[in-house]
Subunit: 408 residues, 2 copies
């Protein structure tokens, strides 16, 4: 088994992490910002130093190709290097720089692979400056057109097409031009499971589907003192019942079902007035598309019960629907085999967050490898994974890629 | 039985209602505003035209005294003429102008009473410009000192003492100098009960006590997708459980128990983040002080249960405690006798809102008369009571005052 150089991986993570670093210990490299350009330049320099052929596509996705013994479809592996505001150093960057480290290890050991290898860094995965997130991979698989991407407006009013030209990453390669045999993405879990179970490797076999709903309850504002309890149409109470019921839905469905109310607002929001209106959001996720629909149906059924009980009217509006994605057995098994041969404990798991791999999976056999995130913390300067866990993940990646690259 | 002149009462309500009227059909006469001064001037002119001796006390309470056959303690009756923003014409004004109408009826009929009669208009009942509300009556019974009242700052930064001098209502009479034998206040219900039951008269025997609480739930912010349900410390869910339980508390205690959550806020308030914090208010009211304490204890008990179940910590902070007030049997019975003799249906009821009578009751035998408010709407230009109901209330007031004034 080949082993990567953990020190070198950590050094690269630290060096890229210094670009866009802020005083609070966080990193901010929003898509096509000056910091993002600087990070991209560093990545491209590293790719060239390792002998990779660099190609940039029309939405700024970066690909570094290492020649194989054949011209068969390559194995692509990577992630993204853009960040949220005040992020940690690992989210995305770890997958890209571990891929570079795999290349450097192969170069050092003078190992050739049958299929070519492609290190990938996708544009605007975080979706902080431009919505939607996972934009680069969405364009890559044809879910979004280049023109539509270029016409997007950022939260700061800037246009994607202007900003990509500003940083000089408006490449000429047609998105999708490299058709990988398999895509593999290594990432920190951004959840607590591996850390809690003290398991170093997660073989990710699915990404949850997400339904975002906005629920608006309309009742009647009345005096909190003079209105008898049985004459109320309390929008706040109705909302509280539904929010409480979300937990019940998740418990009843079990498995990977999640249900969360993250935002709420009452109107008129006065201490002595029964709320006339309550607006709140619902985030439900499941790796099983049928269960996700079931959860939404259970919610709607309960909403109707509350409408009747409380004399309020309730509108449920879908804000977003993302279908769950099942990864490819060939790629998942390559990960599992690699971890097994390295003697590392592993579990199969589901990703609760979105990743470029779920878009790539629309077209190419894909999977992911997760390593522990301490306390599940991510999108924060407190994001942390011990160097040994980072090395384990990179080694599993390297050997899984080797396995896939040897495929007929 | 004496009968007041309904047309004259309505005319006076309309005339006072034009002062501070806005384009939306509402009335705004905040304490010591120019409109309040104009309203006070009109009231004082009317008092003088009816032969009353006008006295202004040091916090601007206005008293108009009609001589009795004896110098025994007088019967005081009235309310307030300040308003909330965009108020109706009736809240407060009805009680004062009905009292004037009683005086005019007695004058016309040349009726003398054994005890003197005093029409009262208290300062800053609404508490919109200066907190606390019911300020004039609180000073009158010695619950608040004149100095403390003068040093209050309004929401606009103005000082009570400056503003009272500005409008020239800084009188010389010592608050409490007139010691009434009884105080009686006629008011629209500001709740839906009389309107719904189609009963013209409510003999109010108590005012609810009020407890205002602020509940702060502290949990942990985590990713809505990656955090398993059983590893959450969801402050929003805990808040929703407690808000739902408020209704349960009110139902279990029954009677006049009210429980309301009017305000809520989640932090960080993001669609895909489990709330780390939830802050909400609780308004609980009961005319029975023991039941009010019981409701608070039931809430605290449930809060502790939720803390244990949900792994959150919860702080309950009292914002306000107002004790319930029981009115005086002598005054309540005078109201009931008057309504009975006028052939008007009546019920005993509790006031769910605060009134000057509840402060006056701290020192003097007091009670209130309620008339219907259409759909319970108040503090709104839509506030409405039919003229016949207004006349009925004024007649019950007149005859109850006559009864009390004849008391030994």
């Amino acid at each position: 088994m080949l082993n990567i150089n953990s020190t070198r991986l950590t050094q690269r993570l630290d060096e890229l992490g210094r670009i866009g670093a802020d005083e609070g210990g966080g990193v901010t490299r929003l898509t096509f910002s000056n910091a993002d350009k600087e990070g991209r330049d560093l990545l491209v320099r590293w790719m060239r130093e390792l002998g990779l052929t660099v190609q940039i596509d029309r939405v700024g996705n970066i690909f570094g190709t290492r020649r194989g013994e054949t011209d068969q479809q390559p194995i692509m592996f990577g992630s993204h290097i853009d960040s949220v505001k005040a992020a940690g150093k690992l989210d995305g960057c770890y997958g890209v720089l571990a891929a570079l480290e795999c290349i450097e290890t192969l170069n050092e050991q003078n190992v050739q692979t049958k299929r070519p290898l492609v290190v990938a860094a996708f544009t605007n995965e975080e979706g902080v400056r431009f919505t939607p997130g996972m934009l680069g991979s969405a364009v890559y698989v044809g879910d979004l057109s280049v023109d539509d991407a270029w016409n997007l407006r950022g939260f700061d009013g800037s246009r994607f097409g202007d900003e990509i030209q500003h940083v000089g990453y408006d490449g000429t390669m047609e998105p999708g031009a490299i058709q990988p045999f398999a895509y593999l993405e290594l990432h920190i879990e951004q959840g607590p499971l591996l850390d809690l179970k003290r398991v170093p490797i997660g073989a990710v076999d699915a990404v949850v589907g997400i339904t975002w709903l906005e629920v608006t309850v309309s009742g009647a504002a009345n005096h909190a003192g003079t209105t008898p309890m049985d004459m109320r149409h309390d929008a706040g109470l109705a909302a509280a019942k539904i929010v409480t019921h979300l937990r019940e839905i998740a418990t009843r469905l079990g498995g990977h079902q999640r249900a969360t109310c993250g935002m709420i607002q009452f109107l008129p929001n006065a201490i002595n007035v029964i709320p006339s209106k309550a607006v709140f959001t619902v985030d439900i996720r499941n790796s099983d598309g049928e269960d996700l629909k079931r959860a939404e149906a259970m919610l709607v059924e309960f909403v109707q019960k509350v409408e009747a009980e409380d004399g309020v009217s309730i509108e449920v509006r879908a804000l977003e629907h993302v279908l769950p994605v099942q990864f490819h057995p060939m790629v998942i098994e390559a990960v599992e085999k690699s971890a097994r041969e390295m003697g590392l404990n592993q579990i199969r798991m589901v990703s609760g967050a979105g990743h470029d791999a779920q878009l790539m999976a629309h077209k190419f056999p894909s999977a992911m490898i997760f390593v522990p995130s301490r306390e599940g913390i991510s999108h924060s300067p407190k994001e942390f994974t011990p160097p040994d866990d980072l090395a384990n993940g990179a080694n599993v990646l390297l050997n899984a890629v080797m396995e896939l690259a040897s495929h007929e």
